[in-house]
């Protein structure tokens, strides 16, 4: 048993840390954005991703023949955690979801078209699974893909497509075989985001970023842009979710929030008395600090399970996501309780305690227990796959 990084892992962690300090960019690394930085579409952000690419840090776990380094996912974990600690954008969907799926299932054509561009950060993706009737029940997608000469004709709607307003390509699940059982009738496509017939409507959220709904009217997709085999869409989506769940919800923002809260509580006063002397505050903080250590323990468990190879660590990733996203919200909630009424002052205003960081985060973290597979879905996974309980819905 060893909770420390190995010397090689530590060397890499130090290297990343140093590089991020030397390449600090206040626009890209805005600490108030925490882990949402990758949602900001700015030229600076694209430049930053290219710099990461130059370092050879995109796609490290990919096979060598596709330009990767074939090293363990723990290096990507180290990198992602460091990026998120520095409030920098993370390595993203292209490397994880799209690249890895193309490597496993994509045609030579798609590999040649996309893999090099992903590694050099020349392409941004949006992921379109969810629809009004297909959220948790992802297999229930209704977006229609009709077979036509030389390709497919898509009609219908997607919901909740993050970054659709600035992405270059759209990674979309659609129903190609309506007569088959719902899990077997789905296929995956790649579509340029500026394709005629795609209408993108922004959907403001209570967090810091907007998301989008996207309408499809006779969107033609050539045969070459079908990913994998027809009817394999759902299996590929499920596999990608298993592989990527932890990169979507890094721990660093939560540990950072805990650290910031503790630092603030050390010196803040109320009625001229240090708030750290308040017994309720001490209790809340003791439990937040303890639970943050547990969250870290669960992330270590998850990374080690991933390192051990074999099956994707879906149970460990569900346990990790369930525990940490709930904690993430609780940290913000309790931080606001500790700040008192001043906690209602919106982020960015002068008088907001801790620059309104917890006010903003309180709103922003509300989607964590829903997006990327809700807490209830994680519990279903744990109950069925881990505890062996009967199917319960």
């Amino acid at each position: 048993m060893d909770f420390d990084f190995s010397p090689e892992e530590q060397k890499f962690a130090d290297e990343v840390e140093q590089w991020l300090t030397e390449n600090h960019d206040p626009v890209v690394m805005d600490p108030t954005r925490e882990n949402f930085t990758q949602l900001a579409d700015t030229p600076e952000r694209r430049d930053f991703m290219k710099k990461l690419a130059k370092q050879g840090w995109l796609g490290m776990s990919w096979p060598k023949e596709y330009g990767g380094q074939e090293i363990e996912g723990v290096y990507e974990f180290i990198l992602n955690e460091a990026l998120s600690r520095h409030a920098a954008p993370q390595i993203g969907k292209g490397v994880g979801i799209i690249g890895k799926t193309l490597i496993r299932h994509g045609s030579d054509f798609l590999k040649a078209e996309f893999l090099p561009k992903i590694l050099s950060a020349e392409v941004e993706f949006a992921v379109g699974y969810s629809e009004p009737e297909a959220g948790s029940d992802a297999a229930n997608m209704q977006l229609k893909a009709d077979k036509v000469d030389g390709g497919w004709n898509l009609n219908g709607q997607k919901m909740w497509t993050t970054s659709a307003h600035f992405a270059d390509w759209y990674w979309v699940g659609a129903r190609t075989d309506p007569d088959k059982p719902k899990h077997d009738g789905l296929s995956l496509f790649l579509i340029p985001m500026d394709h005629a017939g795609l209408e993108i409507q922004s959907l403001p959220t209570i967090g810091k970023d907007t998301t989008n709904q996207v309408f499809f009217t006779d969107v033609f997709v050539p045969d070459e842009y079908l990913v994998g085999k027809r009817g394999q869409g759902f299996q590929m989506i499920a596999e990608a979710l298993d592989l990527e769940r932890f990169t979507m919800f890094t721990l660093s923002p939560i540990s950072e929030r805990t650290r910031v809260l503790v630092d603030w509580a050390k010196t803040a006063t109320r009625d001229d008395k240090p708030i750290r002397e308040n017994p309720d505050t001490r209790r809340l903080i003791a439990n937040i600090v303890t639970d943050t250590a547990v969250a870290k323990a669960l992330s270590t468990r998850f990374v080690c399970a991933a390192k051990a190879g074999g099956k994707p660590p879906s149970i460990q990733s569900s346990q990790y996501k369930l525990f940490t996203t709930t904690l993430s919200q609780r940290v913000c909630d309790e931080a606001l309780d500790i700040t008192g009424a001043a906690g209602t002052i919106r982020e960015g205003q002068d008088e907001a305690p801790i620059r309104g960081r917890f006010e903003g985060a309180y709103r922003a973290t509300m989607n964590e227990t829903v997006g990327g597979g809700s807490s209830e879905i994680q519990k279903n996974i744990i109950a069925r796959r881990h505890l062996g309980l009967p199917k319960n819905f």
Binding site: F5, R282, R283, A286, T300, Q316, K379, L389, P390
Partner: protein, 372 residues
């Protein structure tokens, strides 16, 4: 990073589980509740012979000389089996205090006997209406020449009736002292108290008990420091034991939920119940890794000051949460003595209140992060 157990660690865990399976089945645990002695002699002997009693004690004193991590694995198994043994008070706390501050003569006199299971020592620490901290120790130790004169009352002294020596925490003009006291000596009165878990607890009254200065462990006034340091590492083992109990209780409950049917479905098919169990398993896993991290740090000689209180805080809260929810899943039968869940449920609460409770641990963690 690597969370795998070494082959040797896995062996210790498996061996402990097998030994407890054979010598500590649930009937034995039930029999020992409220028993004046409180532990089965056969089990204790087997544990000593297997080297489990001396797991933490250096080889030079006849022990196994293993680290906190191996001990944590043993404790997780003790927790799963709810094994009633004086291991914690004797082989962890008492032996720990002797190792930390005892004279050579004291170590030679007691450690080999503790390791062999031939002698049990137990700390006499808590006092009625007093707290867990050093201020809680009020029992008077008046220095008279080469002797201390002890008067006062201790409570929650585990396994006192089997003990060859109590290690009494007492207050002298110099501070807190640790004094080896013979419980069968003049002026010492033991009275069994029935606790929630049924563990053998005693009220110990000392009336003008005379002990020689040579019965003191460590320098004058250094007792609290020694005790707190040893207990701090011990917290990790209490935490491991709590995780083991929670884990086994959940395991039993999951099995029950697969077979018990209501409304024509197994209980586990009701999401309300399945989700309780999923949450419980997540909490247990998080607690287990935190305990391992605490134990691993301790085994490397790093300070456990931060991890140990967090581990016990989280693990005992988890044990309590999990057993409460398990009882709910069993339904009405959980409320009967016949079923086992209530045994875990009672032990969970007792562990949470023992050896530094939730508020005390919260205060330790808060002080560590806020007052530095």
């Amino acid at each position: 990073m690597d969370l795998e157990l070494s082959e040797e660690q896995q062996m210790i865990k498996d061996m402990t589980r097998a030994l407890l399976g054979e010598h500590c089945p649930i009937e034995v645990v039930r029999e020992m509740e409220d028993d004046p002695k409180g532990y089965p002699a056969g089990l204790w002997k087997q544990m000593a012979e297997a080297g489990l009693v001396g797991v933490l004690i250096p080889e030079s004193h006849g022990g196994g000389g293993l680290g906190l991590l191996e001990a944590a694995l043993v404790y997780e198994e003790l927790g799963r089996a709810m094994a009633p043994t004086p291991h914690f008070v004797s082989a962890v706390l008492s032996a720990g205090m002797l190792l930390e501050a005892g004279s050579e003569a004291q170590q030679e006199a007691w450690l080999p006997k503790i390791v062999a299971g031939d002698a049990i020592l137990t700390p006499a620490w808590l006092e009625p209406d007093r707290g867990f901290g050093p201020e809680g120790v009020a029992l008077a130790a008046k220095r008279e020449g080469d002797e201390y004169l002890l008067s006062g009352v201790k409570r929650h002294v585990n396994y006192a009736s089997s003990a060859e020596r109590l290690i009494v925490l007492a207050r002298s003009d110099d501070g807190v002292e640790l004094l080896l006291v013979d419980p069968s000596g003049d002026g010492v009165e033991l009275k069994q108290i029935r606790s929630q878990s049924g563990e053998a607890h005693y009220r110990v009254e000392l009336r003008d008990v005379r002990v020689p200065v040579s019965a003191r462990i460590g320098a004058a006034g250094s007792g609290w420091e020694t005790f707190a340091k040893v207990l701090q590492d011990g917290l990790v083992l209490q935490a491991a034991q709590a995780i083991g109990g929670a884990d086994r209780c959940l395991e039993n409950t999951v099995e029950y939920a697969k077979v018990r049917k209501q409304f024509d479905k197994p209980l586990g098919a009701f999401q309300a119940l399945a989700h309780y169990m999923a949450d419980a398993s997540t909490q247990i896993e998080g607690g287990r890794v935190l305990v391992h991290e605490a134990a691993w740090n301790g085994a490397l000689g790093r300070s456990t000051a931060r991890f140990a209180p967090m581990a016990k805080l989280f693990a005992c809260n988890t044990y309590q949460d999990v057993t409460r929810v398990c009882a709910q899943i069993w339904g009405g039968v959980a409320f009967t003595i016949e079923y086992d869940t209530q045994m875990y449920f009672r032990r969970a609460k007792e562990m949470q209140l023992s050896w530094w409770d939730t508020p005390y641990l919260e205060e330790l963690v808060a002080a560590d992060v806020l007052d530095q």
